[in-house]
């Protein structure tokens, strides 16, 4: 993207002034290198979002923004129902509430190294991963409804999780306002045997070591100590979320004229928040969030079982669980007045600032943890929401590194076996059902997460606390 076309606010913030049909400015958080590497489509898609009815203040792009569907990935936008604001199925995406959670273990790296191969094999055997994998849990329709209503709380109540995890999950593990009746039989059918599965693509379970601390005091508060082992899980709402996205996107595309919406891109399909379709989508999407929260809780339960076999005294504590693809009703100040806004985060993480009332008491003094995944060969990061986030992008931050190369291009460039061998030489064990999948996810196919989080910090979106280095990666 050319900086010359944008208004420079500072070294890390750029603005596209309102033009044409846009109702608000667009704001891009990036340093000059990240901005230069950003697809031109980000600018076009962000301007399209800025033209949607009821959008307030600005359409935002995070430092890892890239070309998405309708909304850019790394896009954040808030809509006011009182001003005819909309909710967009495309603005949430297919993998509803795809997200990341990190668990501390209290184990030392050396303890893990002794049994790393066996641990990798056992995790791979017990965590269903990859295309066509199924979980050990099959849900009938009544249990499916209970899961869609209860989220991680449902999983805990059924014995697949730990009560103390709930406070460390957004929405305390259960998204309010879910309406399972709006989740179609097809969406339910896709999920019937997929609870507790990792999925494929960029989803993973990683055993990592804490490599560097940027803020020792905050790290201590989060249970992070240098040289200790943590586990990070990245996955979402599986087939159920995909089917909800598919069905509502179609209905919103077809019914757009009914709401007087002229869409420059059909993928921007949306409906007024205060419409029957908008309400139905919100009910289904919130049920999809609960599915993702339940899924990550079950995967955590399976992981704890495996670790218990190797380290009977180890206690895996949930540091935090963040969701990326959501639309949430939140309280914000708009022009100094409190308002209820519907904030879309598409490939972006909520990053509540210190003191936010939604945070559990132990996190309130420091802010919300923001978990940033790298690729399977590179660093991941733990950040915290910061005070300036209150004024920046509705308390949001980046979500990952973002791809540098398409999947086919990566598969042509690298062989899976070579990637596995090279990573093993660096002490990183890979287990995956698909070597082509590993090639498509090669570290070189991703951008540098370090540059993204450094920019997020300098732009005042979130601040760095710890850097994590992979040791074992179970790749779907």
């Amino acid at each position: 993207m050319e900086a010359a076309k944008l208004t420079r606010i500072n070294d890390f913030t750029w603005r596209i002034e309102p033009h044409g049909a846009t109702r608000v400015p667009a704001v891009i958080y990036a340093d000059s290198n990240l901005l230069h590497g950003m697809d031109e489509m980000v600018e076009r898609q962000l301007s399209n979002v800025a033209a949607l009815p009821g959008i307030v203040r600005a359409a935002y792009a995070m430092p890892d923004a890239h070309w998405g569907y309708g909304f850019p990935i790394g896009g954040v936008a808030a809509f006011d129902p009182a001003q005819g604001g909309v909710v967009s199925a495309g603005g949430v995406g297919f993998d509803i509430s795809c997200g990341v959670r990190t668990l501390t273990t209290g184990l030392k790296t050396a303890q893990l190294r002794e049994i790393a191969d066996k641990l990798a094999d056992t995790l791979y055997a017990r965590i269903p991963a990859g295309v066509a994998s199924t979980g050990a849990i099959t849900l009938d329709d009544a249990e499916m409804t209970a899961m869609l209503q209860g989220g991680a709380r449902w999983a805990v109540a059924r014995g697949w999780g730990d009560e103390r995890d709930l406070a460390r999950i957004e929405e305390a593990g259960c998204m309010a306002g879910a309406d399972p009746a709006q989740v179609s039989p097809k969406a339910r059918e896709r999920q019937r045997r997929e609870m507790g599965t990792l999925g494929s693509g960029n989803h993973y379970l990683e055993v990592q070591r804490v490599e560097h601390l940027y803020d020792e005091k905050a790290a201590r508060a989060l249970g992070l100590r240098i040289g200790e082992v943590v586990v990070t899980i990245h996955c979402g709402s599986r087939g159920l979320g995909h089917q909800i996205g598919t069905e509502f996107l179609r209905e919103m595309v077809i019914r757009a004229p009914e709401f007087g919406l002229e869409l420059p891109d059909r993928e921007l399909a949306c409906a007024p928040i205060e419409s029957e379709l908008g309400r139905r989508y919100l009910g289904a999407m919130r049920a999809g969030i609960n599915c993702a929260l339940a899924n990550r809780e079950i995967l955590t339960h399976l992981t704890r079982d495996v670790f218990r076999e190797f380290f009977p005294d180890a206690s895996l504590e949930l540091l935090y669980d963040v969701s990326h693809n959501t639309c949430k009703e939140e309280a914000h100040l708009l022009e100094g007045r409190p308002r209820r806004l519907f904030v879309h985060r598409k490939g972006a993480t909520r990053a509540w600032w210190p003191g936010h009332e939604d945070l559990p008491p132990e996190l309130r003094p420091i802010g919300q943890p923001v978990l940033i995944g790298g690729s399977m060969g590179t660093e991941s990061y733990v950040l915290l929401g910061c005070e300036s986030g209150r004024d920046n992008a509705w308390g949001s931050a980046c979500h990952g590194a973002g791809r540098r190369m398409g999947r086919n291009q990566a598969a042509r460039h690298w062989k899976g076996k070579w990637v596995v061998k090279k990573l093993a030489e660096q002490g990183i064990l890979i287990r995956s059902p698909s070597l082509r999948g590993v090639a498509e996810e090669a570290p070189g196919a991703y951008k540098d997460a370090s540059a993204v989080v450094e920019c997020a910090e300098q732009a005042g979106l979130a601040r760095r606390v710890a850097r994590l280095r992979p040791m074992i990666c179970i790749k779907g």
């Binding site: 495309g90 995406g93 999947r407």
Partner: protein
């Protein structure tokens, strides 16, 4: 993007999208182009020729226009992949009065024998195009994976 149709023979290809995969089918008829686009979805996971034709599935959908019909068809294919763990290597498509009826042949994915690379989540409206060119039909969209 303005793809050139270079041959009348039905075929498929993938086209570039930053995070995901574009699927494109070419055919002498609309039906052939749709069938080829569906093969391109299978090719996101495995080479379509590797799917043995051991079982078949029927797909039916209708839509207000040809482009939405393509999205519906590919999403119906993805539903079969997701729920029946099917890898489909052959498609026979019929379209009449906006109604698509198809039969597809393939086999259940077997861990160890197949190594599907990545799971298609849904067909999107991004770069969606169904058009008749002087050389034949083209059907394309981006698949979220």
């Amino acid at each position: 993007m303005n793809p050139q149709v270079t041959s009348l023979s039905p075929h498929w290809e993938h086209f570039h999208h930053g995070a995901d995969v574009g699927v494109r089918g070419f055919g002498r008829t609309l039906e052939e182009a749709f069938a080829q686009a569906a093969l391109a979805v299978t090719a996101v996971m495995i080479p379509p020729g590797e799917a043995r034709q051991k079982e078949s599935v029927r797909i039916e959908c209708d839509a207000p226009d040809r482009e939405i019909l393509l999205v519906d068809f590919l999403n119906a294919v993805i539903f079969e992949i997701s729920t029946r763990k099917l890898l489909l290597g052959r498609f026979d498509v019929r379209i009449s009065d906006g109604v698509l009826r198809a039969q597809a042949w393939g086999e259940t994915a077997e861990p160890g024998r197949h190594e599907p690379a990545v799971e298609p989540k849904g067909a999107t409206f991004t770069q969606l195009k169904v058009e008749h060119t002087p050389e034949g039909w083209l059907a394309q969209c981006v698949i979220d994976v």
